[in-house]
Amino acid sequence: MSMSLDGVVEAGFLADRAMTTMQQLGVPASPANFTIWFEYHAGLIPNLQRTIDVIISNNAGFSEDRLKDLYTTFFSPAKEAQAVRATSLLALKTLRDIVAVANLAGADALDASVGAHRFGDALVDLASGDMGASLGKLIELIEDLVQRSKTMAGRSEFVSLRMRASADRIEALEHDLENAIRDAAIDGLTGVANRKSFDSAIRRMAGDAMNSGDDLALLMIDIDDFKRVNDTWGHPVGDSVIRHLAKTVQQTVRGEDHVARYGGEEFVVILPRTCGRAAVAVAENIRKSLARDPVVLVLTPHMTPITVSIGVACYEPGDSLASWIGRTDAALYQAKREGRNRVELNQG
């Protein structure tokens, strides 16, 4: 009695801690997430605890797909195991059907009904009761049948139809998942990557640059006097200006470059294998194509042309990402200080 009471109190305590931790880490309170954090505090799955500690200590964040991975890895049977189980169940069901058919119609009907020639002999033995044998032999035969039915399961048209149906369903689910992940990574206003996606991209690209020793540059682009645009023309015009800049930036850079909306009227671009003057040239291209493109002027004829200031800095392996972003930001503010509508390179 007291033991079960202790158990209840302990569970309540763990539930409390789980909720608190989820709140601290900004993890949504879904049942699956609750399971993860409850078990994390219960400590009964050491590798779950250690994996989560690694993610926390590396500041890698608990994105939706990472939480999903945690749940799948530690709580739900792996895809493969699920597939094996589904196949076994299917095989057993097929076997039962075959035995039922054999019982009803006799062994002769078997070949015609399921088209399983390899089953023939064993089932004839089983159905006719001609075994004359021990239990051990019967088990052996059933095991053999399960094996054979597994082989056959893949061939039967009925089974393959069902397999195709579940494959379609899995595909649809994967498609939904992809969409959800994409939506979570894209800025709604401009269609370029959002801040969250930038955070993981910069980590990935800097990791690769650290390994390869290749150059890596970061541009920080800010619309000049954006507050005035909003105040004078209203937010819908402000929004089209932001969209126009996003489009211009994307048309100017290469496919492998990562463009993201960093916040309000600020964009960032990560440029692999680029640094120094080459990176400044890319920034200048963006600044100039914005000056050339009259779309914004058509929108509101009396509006002063939109210009941008751009800060550029190169990644130094061993440097923290925060300090790299900070240096880029410093270059951007230097560009602002020196009169706007210009590009500044951080000198390291």
């Binding site: 505090h41 991975d69 890895t73 530690f74 980590r203 990791g207 390869s212 392996p317 061993g318 300090s323």
Partner: protein, 139 residues
């Protein structure tokens, strides 16, 4: 159970002088930066370019800590770790994985194979110190 705070002894860092650290990475850039930062923390450094090279270095002189890349030619980090733990005296070194692999499955298999810490690339002085502060020296 307060592992969420990662409160395990920062004081161990001050105790690190003259400890031997084996840096295993096929990237010369990574080895150079790791050597620079770890030497600054008072560690003695040995380098290896792949898992097999690292095993040979371990047999010559068992390090106190191994900073271990995952993807390498000849023998990768996980294979190395599994082999190391089977060697005589190979259970003693602390192993810190240091890799661009960041998914749950990689972290889980690293821990299962006997890694002590897991550091994601790119690393810097701060994250390296955090990883080293998180280890408890094995017996």
């Amino acid at each position: 159970m307060n592992s969420i705070k990662g409160e395990v002894g920062e004081h161990l860092l001050s105790n690190m002088a003259s400890r031997l650290c084996l840096v295993v990475d096929d990237s010369a850039v990574v080895r150079r930066i790791a050597r620079k930062l770890l030497t600054g923390m008072g560690l003695e450094i040995v380098e290896a370019e792949d898992g097999r090279d690292a095993l040979e270095k371990c047999l010559q002189r068992m390090p106190d800590v191994v900073l271990l890349d995952w993807n390498m030619p000849v023998m990768d980090g996980l294979e190395f770790l599994i082999s190391l733990r089977q060697c005589e005296g190979g259970n003693a070194p602390n192993v810190i994985f240091c890799t661009t692999e960041t998914d749950v499955e990689h972290i889980r298999s690293a821990m299962e194979a006997g890694a002590d810490q897991y550091l994601m690339k790119p690393f810097d002085t701060e994250s390296l110190r955090t990883a080293f502060a998180g280890i408890v020296y094995r017996q």
